[in-house]
């Protein structure tokens, strides 16, 4: 069956897909397994201590247990995984040049940076929901930047 897509770098896509899935599972923290725990004493927190400040005030909780990463980071990882799933559909819908994806990525980085600075200098107060949303935009833009490397729309005019 020809879906009008060429699937390339398959092994790498499989690694990214499976790895991103487990990254999200670990990032959800010990609460996912109904195990209330505190920072620094579960492997999930240890796994992310190089990557996230793990501030309890800036993190969501699952089953009354703090997630292993902050709201912005869980947004990044979950949206990245969503982006990996959506890659073939995005390519099917429309072929977009790399430079536009790149601009989208840079735009989301700038947005996150402005949000952090605005909050830090008390121009506004961001919330876990707003951090999650902006983190998600960054995660999604990172995934779709790579979409053309894994999927190519075939020329069906022939």
């Amino acid at each position: 069956m020809n879906l009008g897509l060429e699937f390339q770098n398959r092994a790498l896509y499989a690694i990214v897909f499976v790895g991103s899935f487990f990254l999200v599972i670990i990032a959800l923290g010990p609460g996912l397994f109904g195990n209330p725990s505190l920072p620094y004493v579960s492997f999930q927190f240890e796994a992310f201590h190089f990557l996230c400040h793990q501030d309890p005030l800036r993190s969501f909780a699952l089953n009354n247990s703090q997630m292993a990463v902050c709201a912005r980071c869980i947004g990044i990882y979950s949206a990245f995984f969503t982006g990996v799933i959506l890659m073939p559909f995005l390519v099917l819908i429309k072929k977009v040049k790399f430079r536009y994806y790149f601009r989208f990525l840079i735009g989301t980085i700038i947005l996150n940076f402005i949000d952090v600075l605005g909050n830090q200098f008390e121009f506004w107060t961001n919330t876990n929901e707003s951090r999650f949303l902006l983190g998600s935009l960054f995660g999604l833009s990172s995934a779709i930047l790579l979409s053309n490397e894994f999927f190519k729309k075939l020329n069906t005019e022939d």
Binding site: N9, S20, Y40, V41, F50, H53, D55, L57, C73
Partner: protein, 187 residues
């Protein structure tokens, strides 16, 4: 294609980026541990938001970007995202190992640091009256065991292995992005 056939050595870029990531993340991590260890036990200590600047978030992720950028610029070459993924993966794994070694060396410099840190964390938890006593005892015992386990050789190696897995994977992702940005041919 000619560029890919030459395949210059990417290890100097990998090691350079890994060391930068390991040093920055370990210094930030140690700063946090000193802050907690030097504080009075309270739930406020555990809510370390005053110290944790949001910019520390994701420092560990930039290794793949730094390494691929350095490799592409040093040799003025293009390479596929698979090579970027490899470079990022190795950068993350080496950063985790180097970070673990720096942490162990620091334990020799200040052998009581982790003990003070554990005492403050457990003390803060003991003062939390929102958790029922029965559950509290169970969790405190589990915390004490975890801290003990983390300071043993097996615990240290387990920590390095977990960090190597996660840092390796996220840097594999950032390595692919780095390759796409700095080393792909114009579309």
């Amino acid at each position: 294609m000619e560029n890919e056939e030459m395949k210059p050595n990417y290890w100097p870029s990998v090691i350079q980026a890994a060391i930068i990531v390991a040093v920055v993340t370990t210094v930030v991590g140690l700063g946090l541990v000193y802050y907690v260890a030097g504080s009075e036990p309270s739930m406020g200590v555990m809510m370390i938001s005053g110290l944790t600047i949001p910019i520390t978030c994701l420092i560990g992720l930039i290794g793949g970007i730094l390494a691929t950028r350095s490799y592409a610029k040093a040799f003025d070459i293009t390479f596929p995202i698979g090579t970027g993924a490899q470079i990022g993966l190795f950068t993350g794994i080496i950063a985790a190992v180097v970070g673990g070694i720096i942490g162990q060396i620091w334990n020799l410099v200040d052998p009581t640091l982790m003990e003070r840190f554990a005492d403050t964390m457990i003390g803060a938890f003991e003062m939390n009256d929102q958790i029922p006593e029965s559950q509290k005892d169970e969790i405190i015992t589990s915390m004490e065991e975890s801290f003990e386990d983390q300071s043993s050789m097996g615990g240290v190696l387990k920590g390095i292995a977990i960090n190597a897995g996660v840092l390796g994977f996220v840097n594999l992702l950032s390595g692919m992005i780095g390759a796409k940005i700095f080393a792909s041919e114009e579309e």
